[in-house]
């Protein structure tokens, strides 16, 4: 995790929806990029900082630039990542 004054190129924006924004207390956070950072890495980082994301027993997937992706997808600072719990629109 990092604070706002650190370089933008070293972080990726992660938007949080549903239960996850309540758990974290924010609607978006920035995750540090280290080498090739995948969605799987982002998931691991999020769970390590916010273990309560697991205790709700609610699964979630990730979107990169508004498309749901596999966990091996690598992201850069230019991407918009979003944590998506199970949807219930309509």
């Amino acid at each position: 995790m990092n604070t706002d004054h650190e370089s933008n190129k070293n972080t990726v924006r992660v938007r949080l929806f549903g239960f996850s924004s309540r758990v974290v207390g924010k609607s978006e956070i920035k995750i540090e990029l280290t080498g090739r950072t995948s969605i799987s890495d982002i998931r691991r980082t999020l769970l390590s900082y916010y273990p309560a994301l697991m205790s709700h027993n609610i699964p979630f997937v990730f979107a990169v630039n508004r498309k749901v992706v596999v966990e091996s997808t690598v992201v850069t600072h230019l991407d918009e990542v979003a944590l998506l719990p199970p949807v219930s629109g309509g």
């Binding site: 508004r66 749901v68 992706v69 596999v70 219930s88 629109g89 309509g90």
Partner: protein, 130 residues
């Protein structure tokens, strides 16, 4: 609703079908007081447009509209409208059914129900990898 009805009017079509979803006062055995609809707006909009394209490609529909409400809705308020207009009624019914069935499993919208015991997130379905 009036606005959508006006938009759907077309002299070349003989059928306008609407599906209107409203907030129900119960869910899973509990009384519901209201629902907060949260959306990933940009992604939801893209997917609604994709659904519209799919409908227009699949059926002879003249116009198709799908609108999802967001924010705080009370029981009885309209949460979603899907409307189609076509020369004949069958395709309009089919398009609306496809529209609402697809919306329910594919747009990034989350319902947080305010119930008597507190609040709870509706269980929902995970989106698939595209």
């Amino acid at each position: 609703m009036q606005k959508i009805l006006a938009e759907m009017a077309d002299e070349s079509t003989g059928a306008i079908v609407f599906f209107v979803g409203t907030v129900r006062n119960h869910d899973d055995g509990e009384r519901v007081l209201a629902i907060m609809y949260e959306a990933y707006d940009e992604m939801a909009q893209e997917i609604l447009e994709k659904i519209e394209s799919e409908v227009m490609a699949r059926w002879p529909i003249k116009k198709f509209i799908a609108v999802q409400s967001t924010g705080y809705l009370k029981v009885g308020e309209i949460s979603v409208v899907v409307a189609a207009t076509s020369p004949h009624r069958q395709e309009a019914f089919d398009a609306c059914k496809y529209g609402i069935d697809t919306i329910k499993t594919s747009i990034p919208v989350w319902k947080n129900e305010k119930v008597e015991s507190g609040e709870k997130w509706v269980k929902g379905v995970l989106l698939n990898v595209e």
